[in-house]
Amino acid sequence: MPSASTYSRPSSLDEALTFIQSTSGKALKILAGGTDLLIQMRAGLYPDTALLDIKNIPETMSITIEPNQVRIGAAAAASEICANIQLRQLYPGLVEGIEYIGSTQIQSRATFGGNLCNASPAADGVPALIAAGGTCLIVGPEGRRINPISTICTGPGETALGQGEFIAEFILPIPKPGSADAYLRFTPRNEMDIAVVGVAANLSVDADGTCTRAQVVIGAIAPTALVASDVAACLVDQPLTPKIIDKAGEIASQLGSPLTDKRGTSEYRHQIAGVLTKRAIKIAAERAKKAH
């Protein structure tokens, strides 16, 4: 069974920092939902590691819709996020992403913070989180800093977080009128599976249906979720006709360097990236039109 050399469950960010400082030099893992971490510990990956449980800190646990921004605690449970009707209206694709993760039991533990910092290229929560264009509050021994979400993952299992740092919350803009997002993933099974490819599209359209802003992020075709700028560029200032959307899909199917493994071939991942990009753009565009 998993065991930790030290375990702390602080009730404030300051208290968390005190614990981190007390463990300086030692291996430290952050426990949010634990849905990845506990399995890794059970496999013997972190034999002598201090655990910082961040599920008892107000900032990391709350979901707040403010006039100008949305704050989502890094350790807020997926089930809480999915049950937040206001958040689902603002960011339907973001909620779809985290909703895909795991079973009902896992949903009551899984978090955006854990999904991002586990840094799996196939994480369902990540593409829409990056596509939302927000930032995150990072807390660590050196103090607090705010970084774009898109800069956190640097490779499979690797993040830009320093020793003792953790993400406390995500800060997303309130979408402008005529904006919406969508997330789709492909899995051979309909549940309990890992994305072969996942695509988030986050768009703004004007009253005529012309795309004024686009962000497309694709998971599982590169070492980290891939910000598909070429796909976005092909959409902006264009009416979202089937032809344009097909072109976007065509571009998406050329991107990344997907692996061939037990979950899919490289060729297949390229094809599915194209298909899902088209479908996600269509859904996001439909939603955006209704969001005026």
Partner: protein, 756 residues
């Protein structure tokens, strides 16, 4: 269609007797048992797929604090080849079983047990495994049929001579056995054909996928006797096989079967049991061993990968004129794939004049194949039922009509030589044709497939005992583990026969010392064969009840009739006399005065299981951009002879179809080039989950089996047989893509669609 419809309990669907314990978590499965002073055993498994063991040093592991015992192959006698031990549906070779549970001389698959330890905690046992020193001479792994049958292929067993050839070969081979079945003349048959379909079909290694991993607790007493608690489909088989592996007299071992979380044939043999006994003997402590899911995938179960070549000749009227089937079947590390049953069932749905069936049993460096629901039958049914569908399409004939044209019926001689008693294939085809599903409209990218299938069903040996309690209730004791609701069906048959309420019957599964011998719960035999033992015992109880009533009434027993749970004097004896009937409860309460407690037992070798036939209708929708197949509607039609517990029969039909659907669409062992399985987890071995399936509709056809008092045929296995081809045929109907290589996963289907 049923012979008799006046049953009070047979054919109803009461609440299962084991249900409350299971939903509350109280039920004890294999790993739930504990013994005072118990310690924990773990297995060291081969990290290579093929190699010679040069040395094993257990001493460093024994030096780890908290380790109480360590064993390897040398701790067991090297069993001589012993043929013919009963192991459910196929005979077992004891030498192979012994060398499969613990390697000797060679390791033959990645995950092959090579040593085991017992320690004070699972963590210490895991740590101790790291200290066992093993040196191997690595040998090139043989990972598929072509590699195994290649000239100069590395041999798994240097002494294995192919059996079943007209002339005994002198050279050893990876081909363990060849089988041939034929009738008529192929050349003549093909010359009468208007069309010929010729195709090769392949299926991957697939696992039974029972949710409960293998688990055992063993205790050795000071008097040299041992007790085993384990999850198994057959406690007597565990006793016999474990005793032989240990070199013990089987009388020293008592086996208690736990509740079982699925078996599907995979728990009809042994893996951990003799290791746990040996570790318990050496340590002097009870030892618990539980497999991880990874162990289950790497070292138990699976069923064979296969390649079937079919050549089918048919005339324009849709009559099969000739069929040539060649099956090559991977046995895993030791001989004994289900090649034989795959050959015997290949063409059994049809009445044929000219056929030839040849099968090859081929060893490869993968885990030894174990029985899996209708072993072998799905492999050849996938091939033959696909080919028949292709023929129907080519001829423009209805796929049900083409099967009716050729269907086996009473009097047909099966390819394996048996002449069929009443069977229900035609009835299932007619029911399929009449079902609203068969004519429901389809949308674009949707398609409908039909397939039929057969399984023999087994009889074998069973025993049962019935004890009447003084309040008039009954306890039914058998040693047939309940994997599909058999306690409920035993209780229903007892209630019906004795004429008492279902709720008054308590059916239990007992250990090898409390119950009479029963073969495994396998071969779809339990409701048929153990059911017959239960009915026989109930009839003996009735004889006793009539004697008791006769004694009280001062009549002869033959003057007493048993009706509706009561003893009645016959019409002659009751004429002019005021004799009130005596209920079972009244007779049980007065038993002390009439000869003592009332009980009976019965044992038999049950003959005449009655073949099981089924037909399935599958609708799919294919996403042409992703190659993903959704099952949108599925109907299972099957001859149950007589459904004892209707809802459990429906459950068997649904469960079998689901396993077939999984095998058709996503399930497969994925190996790297060294023979290491890459997807040994439920995450990546993609069995279907609830969201992948529609509610599966069932139609129970009842053509009674004359060899069972209520007409029962086995139902558990047949429903997996047609499902693979039903899915493939539906996909072809949807998107005009004939898929001959399972699984039909999205990348494979998309590739086929883009090259078509």
């Amino acid at each position: 269609m049923s012979a008799k419809t006046t049953y009070k309990w047979i054919g109803s669907s009461p609440v299962r007797p084991d249900g409350v314990d299971k939903v509350t978590g109280r039920a004890n499965f294999g790993a739930d048992h504990s013994e005072p002073g118990m310690i924990y055993g773990k297995v060291l498994r081969s990290p290579i797929a093929h190699g010679r063991i040069q040395s094993i040093n257990l001493t460093p592991a024994l030096q780890v604090p908290g380790v109480l015992a360590a064993i390897c192959g040398d701790d067991f006698p090297d069993a001589d080849a012993v043929q013919g031990m009963s192991s459910g549906e196929s005979p077992a070779d004891m030498r192979d079983i012994a060398r499969n549970v613990m390697a000797r001389d060679k390791v033959l698959y990645h995950g092959h047990p090579i040593a085991a330890v017992a320690a004070m905690s699972p963590e210490i046992a895991d740590e101790a495994l790291k200290h066992i020193q093993v040196t191997y001479e690595a040998l090139p792994p043989v990972l598929n049929l072509d590699q195994a049958m290649a000239k100069d292929a590395p041999l798994l067993h240097e002494d294995q001579i192919t059996r079943g050839l007209p002339k005994k070969p002198t050279q050893a081979s990876n081909i363990a056995a060849v089988l041939n079945l034929k009738r008529g003349d192929l050349e003549t048959g093909f010359s009468q054909a208007d069309i010929i379909i010729e195709e090769t079909y392949t299926t991957p290694t697939a696992h039974q996928g029972y949710i409960e991993p293998h688990a055992v607790i063993a205790r050795c007493n000071e008097d040299g006797r041992a007790a085993i608690w384990c999850c198994t489909q057959g406690p007597f088989v565990v006793r016999s096989l474990s005793a032989q592996v240990l070199g013990w007299d089987m009388g020293r071992i008592k086996v208690t079967p736990s509740e079982i979380g699925g078996g599907f044939g995979g728990k009809t043999t042994i893996y951990l049991e003799p290791l746990a006994v040996k570790l318990a003997e050496k340590s002097g402590r009870p030892v618990k061993m539980v497999m991880s899911r990874e162990d289950v995938f790497r070292a138990t179960g699976p069923t064979s990968a296969s390649r079937t070549h079919v050549k089918l000749g048919m005339n324009k009227a849709g009559k099969i004129t000739a069929a040539d089937v060649k099956l090559e079947c991977e046995a895993g590390a030791f001989k004994g794939s289900p090649m034989q049953t795959a050959c015997m069932t290949a063409l059994t749905c049809y009445d044929l004049e000219n056929f030839n069936i040849t099968g090859y049993d081929v060893v490869v460096n993968k885990p030894k194949a174990a029985a899996y629901r209708a072993p072998g039958a799905p492999l050849t049914a996938f091939a033959v039922e696909s080919a028949i569908d292709q023929a129907a399409k080519r001829l423009g004939l209805d796929p049900i009509d083409i099967r009716l044209n050729n269907a086996a019926k009473e009097g047909t001689v099966a390819p394996y030589g048996a002449k069929f008693p009443p069977i229900g294939l035609v009835e299932t085809l007619q029911a399929a044709k009449a079902h609203p599903h068969y004519c429901a409209p389809l949308k674009p990218n949707q398609g409908r497939g039909i397939a039929s299938g057969f399984w023999f069903n087994a009889g074998m040996q069973s025993s049962a005992a019935i004890n009447l309690n003084e309040n008039g209730t009954a306890t039914v004791i058998t040693a047939s583990p309940d994997i599909g609701g058999s306690r409920a069906s035993m209780a229903l048959m007892t209630a019906e026969t004795l004429g008492i309420p279902y709720a008054d019957v308590n059916a239990i599964v007992a250990d090898t010392e409390a119950a009479g011998y029963c073969d495994v719960t396998g071969g779809s035999r339990t409701t048929f064969a153990t059911g017959r033992a239960v009915i026989m015992a109930a009839e003996k109880v009735i004889v006793s009840l009539r004697e008791r009533a006769a004694a009280l009434w001062e009549l002869k027993p033959e003057q007493v009739e048993w009706r509706d749970g009561q003893a009645h004097p016959d019409s002659e004896a009751s004429a002019g006399a005021d004799i009130k009937p005596l209920s079972l409860a009244e007779l049980a309460l007065s038993a002390a005065k009439t000869g003592g407690p009332i009980s009976a037992k019965a044992s038999l070798t049950a003959q005449g299981a009655g073949g099981g036939f089924g037909t399935q209708i599958c609708d799919v929708e294919v996403d042409p951009e992703t190659g993903k197949t959704e099952i949108i509607r599925f109907t299972v039609i099957q001859d149950a002879g007589k459904a004892i517990h209707r809802a459990y029969v429906e459950g068997q039909l649904q469960g079998g179809a689901v396993q077939g659907i999984g095998w058709a669409l996503n399930e497969e062992y994925i190996y790297d080039e060294k023979g290491c399985m890459q997807n040994a987890s439920f995450l990546d071995y993609r069995m279907p989950v609830a969201l992948d399936l529609p509610m599966i509709d069932t139609v129970i056809v009842e053509v009674p089996n004359p060899n069972h008092p209520f007409g029962v045929r086995g139902v558990g296995e047949t429903p997996i047989v047609p499902a693979l081809a039903a899915v493939a045929n539906a996909i072809d109907s949807a998107v005009d893509a004939r898929m001959t290589d399972l699984p039909i996963n999205p990348p494979k289907l998309l590739k086929q669609l883009s090259t078509a």
